[in-house]
């Protein structure tokens, strides 16, 4: 009699459940395969290239003898990404502030949102071409220059920063804005003293992820900076960078250069990983859900 109240588990249902779980697990593992392989190859091939001189010498460009290291590439990437961040982060957060605090649901704000979304999907090579046409071909301040590469990277970062900042600013509860406004605070003070500090960890996280993305981009730099070997701190000159170094080395018919490309790739991945980890740490301190 109790069997009719609590019937035994249907064998077919249990079998289907097992099958579905198995398929999902299999697909997840399959998705991990390329990821693990990438890390494996990076370590296997890149670690061999690493040495003290690898990080302390510039590429020499010689066909015979010592090919040199990647010092100029590391510094170049840091310089250009830093300049790009200085341009893109205040701009992006500014746009997001406008959208969240002032534009809200107006038609103009929605149009801006739409274009920001479109910009997020624009292939990075297009930003490179754009800068090539506008800044390089027009010969503003010479031809190829590091600052032009930074502009291309900044354009790439802008929608990423804006989007992430908008999400974080929207998360700041309206009750806090109301509380501050009801105290007789002018709107700009509400933004600078309440909204921005509350959203700060999220803003930092979004910006770091945008930086990480920009650091690994090759295409925007190809047409705007051009490749050189030497260490360069003058942003109006051509400059080396990790992605371009890799791009250049990997196509060479010399094993030593290809090995250097792997070493540089491993360096780049570690840089990005560091930024991502930092972003996660900051995110954990966030007071927003």
């Amino acid at each position: 009699m109790s069997a009719s109240v609590l019937p035994a588990v249907d064998g077919r249902r249990r079998a289907k459940d097992k099958l579905a779980r198995g398929v999902l697990l299999g697909l997840t593992v399959l998705a991990l395969v390329p990821l693990v392989l990438i890390i494996y190859y990076l370590l296997a091939k890149g670690l061999g290239a690493w040495s003290k001189t690898f990080f302390t010498s510039d590429p020499t460009g010689r066909f015979l003898g010592d090919p040199g290291g990647i010092r100029s590439a590391i510094f170049g990437t840091i310089e250009m990404v830093a300049l790009a961040s200085v341009i893109a982060i205040p701009f992006g957060i500014g746009v997001a502030l406008y959208l969240v605090e002032y534009g809200k649901k107006t038609r103009f704000a929605n149009v801006v949102r739409y274009f920001v979304d479109v910009m997020t999907g624009v292939p990075s090579v297009v930003f490179g071409l754009f800068v090539y046409i506008v800044l390089v071909v027009s010969q503003i301040g010479g031809t190829f220059a590091a600052w032009k590469g930074a502009v291309a990277l900044a354009l790439l970062m802008l929608p990423v920063v804006t989007r992430s900042a908008e999400v974080v600013l929207t998360l700041v509860p309206d009750s806090l804005r109301e509380g501050a406004l009801a105290l007789g605070a002018p709107r700009w003070r509400v933004i600078t003293r309440i909204v921005l500090p509350t959203a700060l960890p999220g803003l930092i996280t979004g910006s770091l992820l945008a930086i990480a993305r920009a650091a690994g981009e090759t295409a925007p730099l190809l047409f705007s900076v051009a490749f050189v070997f030497g260490l360069q701190f003058d942003l109006s000159q051509r400059m080396n960078s990790l992605p371009l170094q890799i791009f250049n080395d990997v196509g060479q018919a010399q094993d030593r250069l290809v090995e250097r490309a792997w070493g540089a790739a491993l360096t780049l991945v570690l840089l990005v990983l560091l930024l991502t980890l930092l972003a996660r740490l900051v995110q954990r301190r966030s007071r927003l859900a």
Binding site: S175, G184, P186, R189, I194
Partner: protein, 293 residues
């Protein structure tokens, strides 16, 4: 209970006096002074609503309300959910217009100042009329001390001894003894009731004339509620208080006068005892006896 009579007496003139928005009705001898009918120690001001209408887009939430909040009195706003009592209160410090699509028409007067006048700075209105919200909203990035100081700092007021102001405000909100040893800790670590008293301290730190409370106890337990109610009784020595409440017992406990609203209209306003014993309007009676809600 003498001020109650003056309240009801003064309710009439504003209705006929809609053409001249400035200046209080004839009852006031001094044009710019404080409310004359209040005791000498009192420093609050009167708030008069004249033909106040408020809208959310096309939704007409407050419909032509006339009402006088007497100085140094606690006025409770009661009525079923959605009757417009919160909206009405948010019109008094012009917070209503912060919501997208929201607007208000008509007159709100602080003594003889038209708060919706073209010369009036919204920011100044909100400094003069403080507000405590339904859910405690201390600023999460700030310490207890900074939360109370926030009002002074955010409004850019200069020449204030902030330390002293924070202490007097926390004492005024009955919170000083509980937090004086941990002023540097975050406000979010306090209990709900403490947080709400922190928000009250933050509000009185700006030294407003009027305090609006939008269901200040609805997120609190009975003991915390009792503390806030005792505090309200204290605060009316210095401020004019308007409190929105769902809880009719609370209105009966704290309010000198009570106003009953229904579907955006003011049904009845009078001494609290009268509203809860012998209301003039049958709708009021039905509401307070629980026939609808």
């Amino acid at each position: 209970m003498t001020p109650d009579r003056s309240t009801t007496d003064e309710r009439r003139p504003p209705m006929s006096d809609t053409t001249r928005p400035t200046g209080r009705p004839a009852a006031s001898p001094a044009p710019r002074g404080r409310a004359p009918e209040t005791p000498a120690a009192a420093t609050g001001r009167t708030v008069a609503l004249r033909g106040l209408n408020a809208y959310y887009g096309s939704n007409h939430a407050v419909r032509g309300v006339d009402l006088l909040y007497a100085a140094n009195q606690v006025t409770a706003m009661i009525g079923p959910s959605g009757c417009g009592k919160s909206t009405l209160v948010r019109c008094i410090n012009r917070m209503h217009e912060e919501l997208p699509g929201a607007r208000a028409e008509g007159g709100v007067h602080l003594d003889d100042i038209d708060l919706y006048g073209p010369q009036v700075d919204v920011v100044a209105v909100r400094r003069a009329i403080g507000m405590v919200f339904q859910k405690p909203n201390p600023f999460p990035t700030m310490s207890i001390f900074d939360n109370v100081a926030a009002g002074v700092r955010l409004s850019g007021t200069r020449g204030v001894d902030i330390k002293e102001r924070v202490e007097t405000s926390l004492r005024g909100a009955g919170l000083w003894e509980e937090v004086k040893d941990r002023l540097g800790e975050r406000g979010g670590g306090l209990s709900g009731g403490q947080q709400q008293r922190l928000c009250i301290a933050r509000t009185i730190a700006v030294e407003p004339e009027v305090i609006l409370m939008d269901e200040p106890c609805s997120a609190l337990d009975p003991i915390a509620t009792l503390k806030i109610e005792e505090l309200i009784d204290d605060l009316k020595q210095r401020y004019t208080i308007v409190i929105v409440t769902h809880n009719m017992q609370q209105a009966a406990r704290v309010a000198d006068t009570t106003a009953f609203m229904l579907t955006g209209e003011m049904v009845e306003h009078g001494p609290t005892e009268k509203i809860f014993s012998t209301p003039n309007d049958t709708r009021t009676e039905e509401y307070i006896t629980g026939k609808f809600g």
